[in-house]
């Protein structure tokens, strides 16, 4: 036979949670009820969550780096990236050189209604044109609006954070985010 019945212990747990939630303060102000501070939840639209830097929120496009090589579109498991481009003559790199042919991006759409946020496109991009931004508030009332076009994707670039430092013992190289 146990000393304290489990039922009473259970009541104590929930009771203690009430007290901790309503009176979270310590010290002199213990008796001032402040549930908004004591609760573990946050009032979402008023208080925003700060996702970690690596969070895969939305994909940002650094348009200048994109060469329309189609690698991302091909590797995407659900084919939600649409790219169109054309070749264009660009002025030579050095004065007096030959004019170059560069790939110019006409269309770069990501359909977030299809995207499953796996990050393969960002990973396979050989030219550092795609980045993850932790921004997560881009829900839309109409599903068609989830198709982000080139300009919208470029706007996300501003929200891309710098890559964070690595934990001790790592030998990985810290990448750089190009300035927008």
């Amino acid at each position: 036979m146990k000393l304290i019945p489990g039922l009473v212990k259970g009541l104590a747990v929930t009771g203690a949670t009430v007290v901790r939630t309503v009176f979270p303060k310590r010290g002199l102000r213990t008796l001032i009820p402040a549930p908004s501070k004591g609760a573990d939840t946050v009032q979402y639209p008023h208080v925003k969550e700060a996702p970690p830097t690596r969070a895969r929120g939305v994909i940002a496009l650094h348009e200048g780096n994109c060469t329309a090589c189609m690698l991302c579109a091909r590797e995407c498991p659900d084919w939600c990236i649409y790219i169109e481009g054309h070749k264009e003559k660009a002025p030579p790199r050095r004065p007096g050189g030959k004019p170059r042919l560069v790939n110019k991006l006409d269309r770069f759409d990501i359909d977030y209604a299809l995207c499953m946020f796996c990050g393969i496109c960002v990973e396979v991009c050989p030219f550092e044109a795609l980045f993850w931004s932790p921004e997560y508030e881009f829900s839309e009332p109409r599903i068609a609006d989830l198709l982000h076009d080139k300009s919208r994707l470029s706007e996300w670039m501003e929200t891309v954070p710098d890559f964070e430092d690595y934990e001790t013992g790592s030998v990985a190289k810290k990448l750089k985010v190009p300035p927008t």
């Binding site: 489990g6 690596r54 013992g169 990985a172």
Partner: protein, 389 residues
């Protein structure tokens, strides 16, 4: 199997002895559909039970409402793409789904991840176990009627999910494992934060054990309900905590730790001789505690070095076949990968734990009462994605 049958008869007799409805009175049987839309089925599992009063005569799980054809999909996806897919099989412990597939592919390619990657893999593996099983601890309480524990479970699971997210970038679907290592290294400060999260999880376990495990009503509801004798469980292919709760000391993590570093830490496999729903709850509670210990020990000495072995940029897996299984949160999960040397696997067979775990449901539900159906389903703990794949 005769042992199975006799065990079952004995079990039914024990269940029915005290309150069996008089069989001479003609009663109409009733067929009750539990699911596909039902709070106890965690999704779209359907169980057709034939009832005599409140007693189950026959129960048949109907699966496939959520079948997404992963095995077939995997045949037309490259290896990195498959990693994304299999994430979504057991969505609560999703990192753990990637690992056996990656290990099988690594075995075929004959590469081995560097020690640091193995270490981090194991940590994340255990974190996803915690993320999965904490929810079970709350959910089981909800199944038997207590509402509060599940809020605690969601509250404290958040700490673990935050850690998974800040390391992998994905909260639910990390997609962090790569053939030959990991996608990235850990961010700075992650180790210390994870340690704090483990402290929170331990205090959550204490809370649950006071609020639920020690509760007399909970014990009355779960003890002696859904008894799975060890031989029956094994013959039905139960694995993981479900079979350990029947007293079988079998844990793939300890017995064949391929690619993960469980042999480097000091931990214990918990078993319970009870065989009933309470034992399954108890084993999972202990395993959550044990997982926090494993994580803590692993965090202590992560070796330094690279997280990625040398692998070609375009992955072509040489022809061959490999089967790797790991001890996932829900039980033993295995991938049988057959490659013909292509970019895509020729065939992937997924042995998911829940599918085998609920195969015992018809056997187990015969002769129990309606409320016990829910207790048993809750204690077996399945994830629909893991059943239907």
């Amino acid at each position: 199997m005769t042992a199975t049958e006799s065990e079952q008869l004995r079990y039914i007799a024990a269940q029915a002895a005290d309150a069996r409805v008089n069989l001479e009175i003609e009663t109409e049987g009733m067929t009750l559909n539990i699911g596909p839309q039902h709070p106890a089925t965690h999704g779209t599992l359907r169980i057709v039970v034939k009832l005599d009063g409140e007693q189950v005569i026959e129960a048949e799980p109907v699966m496939g409402y959520m079948h997404r054809g992963y095995e077939k999909l995997a045949e037309v996806r490259t290896y990195p793409q498959v990693t994304t897919l299999v994430n979504r099989i057991d969505w609560l412990g999703s990192f753990a789904n990637e690992v056996p597939f990656i290990l099988a592919a690594e075995r075929l390619m004959e590469v081995e991840a560097p020690p640091r990657a193995q270490w981090i893999r194991t940590i994340l593996f255990e974190l996803s176990r915690i993320a999965n099983v904490t929810l079970f601890l709350g959910d089981m309480a909800v199944q038997v009627g207590a509402i509060t524990p599940v809020f605690f479970a969601f509250r404290d699971r958040e700490h673990v999910l935050n850690q998974i997210e800040s390391a992998t970038g994905g909260r639910f679907h990390p997609n962090f494992d790569r053939i030959g290592g990991l996608k990235d290294d850990l961010p700075a400060g992650w180790v210390a934060e994870t340690r704090q999260a483990m402290v929170k999880i331990r205090s959550f376990c204490d809370q649950i054990s006071e609020l639920v495990e020690g509760n007399e009503i909970f014990q009355a509801r779960t003890r002696g309900v859904g008894v799975v004798p060890a031989d029956v469980g094994l013959s039905y292919g139960l694995s993981g905590p479900n079979i350990r709760a029947s007293g079988v000391d079998w844990d793939v993590r300890r017995d064949s730790p391929c690619g993960l570093v469980y042999d480097q830490v000091d931990w214990k496999v918990w078993t319970h001789p009870g065989c009933d729903s309470f034992a399954r709850f108890w084993v999972r509670l202990q395993e959550t505690r044990e997982a926090t210990k494993i994580v803590d020990q692993l965090l202590d000495d992560i070796p330094s070095g690279p997280t990625m072995a040398k692998v070609p940029r375009i992955i072509k897996v040489p022809a061959g076949e490999a089967y790797v299984e790991t001890e996932n949160p829900l039980g033993v999960m295995g991938y049988y990968v057959v490659s013909k040397g292509d970019l895509v696997p020729f065939r992937v067979k997924i042995r998911s734990a829940s599918f085998s775990n609920i195969s015992i449901v018809p056997w187990l539900l015969r002769g129990v009462y309606v409320p016990d159906i829910i207790t048993i389903l809750g204690s077996l703990y399945f994830i629909l994605g893991d059943i239907d794949r």
